[in-house]
């Protein structure tokens, strides 16, 4: 029992990383109809950025960790910065191709991903070597029903949950959320309503980038090592999570992320090499049974 609970906590933690990242894939797909293969690299930028921002605040460090307020500031800067980079990426690389065949944007995304991984690698102050991620706050362990849970785990899972709740609120209850839904359904009709489609797409990329930064911080807090390629693998897994949940659907991305995270942890516990495969096995099974994903609906065009 205690072991199962323990794995469940690990699963939730990894699941929130996947879910936050999957949201970016699914939102961008929903709104511009492209798979942003560079999205995983935004996670790396968020985590790597946090590493450097934390260094800037080194003077505030007490006993190797930071006060809560400073941690909040560090996370906020990382979110804003990563969001900004995501907006820039869209404006430079994707916007000029928006009305071109989809394959062109797809290949561009792969290219952007390679650039985002290898450009920092070439920078002398970043380079190819992994760095150890700083401990942001003092971890305290609790024993719950025999399972050991750390405060870092609780805070990270809560942070992910709050971020997702905020996103759900923004998309469904605010004016900009309504505009996002309108743009995702019909860009021409949306601009005839006076909606600035470019602005809405930029905001979507910004939100995706900011969520990816939170995701990166959650991941690096659990597995405290950052390097320029960390986003590639995590990105792939989160893309699987988004497809699993039904790409384009926000609740589906969250659900897919958690399913994948929890399944991977349990599978790893059974056999350490099996862990990575399980995500793809689940994906294949789901796609065979329900090709549009768990929450997705196959669109029947009404003429």
């Amino acid at each position: 029992m205690a072991t199962i609970l323990q794995y469940l906590v690990y699963g939730l933690q990894l699941g929130s990383v996947y879910a936050l990242l999957a949201l970016g894939y699914t939102m961008v797909y929903g709104i511009v109809g492209m798979i942003n293969f560079a999205h995983g690299d935004f996670l790396m930028i968020g985590a790597m950025g946090t590493y450097f921002i934390a260094k800037l605040f080194e003077g505030q460090r007490i006993d190797g960790t930071y006060p809560m307020l400073i941690v909040g500031v560090i996370i906020l800067i990382a979110m804003l910065g990563t969001g900004g980079i995501a907006v820039g990426t869209e404006a430079i690389a994707y916007r000029p191709l928006r009305n071109k065949p989809r394959m062109i944007a797809l290949i561009t995304a792969v290219g952007v991903s390679m650039f985002l991984e290898n450009f920092p690698r070439a920078l002398p102050f970043i380079g190819p070597n992994p760095r150890s991620f700083p401990t942001l706050f003092t971890p305290t362990s609790f024993l719950v029903l025999g399972a050991s849970i750390t405060s870092t785990q609780i805070i990270m899972i809560l942070l992910a949950a709050i971020t997702m709740a905020a996103l759900y609120f923004v998309v469904n209850r605010t004016k900009i959320g309504g505009q996002m839904r309108a743009v995702s359904m019909d860009k021409d009709a949306a601009s005839l309503m006076g909606i600035n489609v470019n602005r809405v797409i930029s905001i979507t990329f910004f939100i995706g980038g900011a969520l990816a930064a939170v995701s990166g911080i959650c991941y690096a807090s659990a597995y405290p090592q950052v390097d320029v390629y960390m986003g590639s693998w995590l990105g792939n897994m989160s893309f699987v999570a988004a497809v699993l949940g039904g790409i384009g659907d926000i609740r589906g991305a969250m659900l897919g992320g958690f399913i994948l995270g929890i399944a991977q942890i349990f599978a790893t516990a059974i056999n350490s090499t099996f862990g990575y495969a399980v995500g793809f096995i689940i994906l294949i099974i789901i796609l065979l049974v329900k090709p549009a994903g768990i929450m997705g609906k196959l669109v029947v065009e009404k003429v």
Binding site: K175, G178, Q179, R181, A182, M185, D186, D188, A189, A190, S191, L192, M193, G194, I195, N196, V197, K302
Partner: protein, 236 residues
């Protein structure tokens, strides 16, 4: 001064020249129709006016403002409402949510409420289906919703692209009665129709488009009586 003035407009899609040197104008309060067969360039003209397509050359002036270099969402602000071909309602939003999208640029809550009430008075059917997703409405209801949504923008010029397309004759009659009613309350209307008979009976003035050029123009009554128009578009 004319409300809308288009001069020597050229629009192309790649190598295809869809509109080649079209000039026309309309005054405030008028209903003007553009008629012509499929592919004559009618929709392209409307899409270029509202900024969805870009002109290769020529000018479009609306109340003195040049539109050809403006973004679509800015053109709506000037007061041009466009009901696009195929209605293009937001299928997963409810009827009310669709109508609220039309009021996207309006800040004053009272104005939005009044416009909503006006739309529901014009289209009681929409009121009945308030909470229904737009994608589940019938074609006629979707056309009403598209019209209502355009009215929510409170524009002074309403452009309609094939409002009769795919609808039963009895519903078409209804829609056109409402179009005249909207015009009587002060909104100018630029109408595109394949059904030339209907268009000429609604508009005061009409232009006939043929492969991207205006081939004939005049008061609708004269065109209705014209032998060439009769032969080509009225099936007489």
């Amino acid at each position: 001064m004319a409300m809308l003035e288009i001069s020597d407009l050229h629009v192309s899609y790649g190598a295809i020249n869809a509109v080649r040197g079209v000039s026309f104008q309309m005054d405030k309060g008028e209903i003007v129709a553009l008629i012509g067969s499929n592919g004559a360039g009618k929709s392209t003209i409307l899409r270029t006016i509202s900024g969805l397509e870009h002109a290769r050359s020529g000018s479009i002036k609306f109340q003195g403002t040049e539109l050809t270099k403006m973004k679509a969402h800015k053109i709506v602000e000037l007061g041009i409402a466009h009901v696009p071909e195929g209605r293009r309602v937001f299928p997963k939003l409810t009827v009310t949510e669709n109508l609220h999208m039309g009021a996207n640029l309006i800040k004053d809550k009272q104005v939005i409420k009044d416009s909503l009430e006006r739309v529901f008075t014009i289209f009681p059917r929409l009121k009945e289906r308030e909470k229904q997703a737009a994608g589940t409405l019938s074609g006629g209801e979707q056309q009403m919703l598209a019209l209502g949504r355009a009215l929510m923008t409170n524009g002074s010029l309403l452009m309609l692209d094939e409002p009769s397309m795919g609808l039963a004759p009895i519903i078409v009659e209804d829609i056109f009665r409402i179009i005249r009613q909207i015009n009587e309350s002060g909104t100018s209307i630029l109408l595109i129709e394949q059904n030339a008979f209907l268009a000429l009976n609604t508009a005061s003035h009409a232009y006939v488009l043929e492969t991207g050029r205006i081939s004939m123009e005049g008061p609708s009554k004269e065109l209705l009586a014209d032998d060439r128009v009769k032969a080509a578009y009225l099936g007489a």
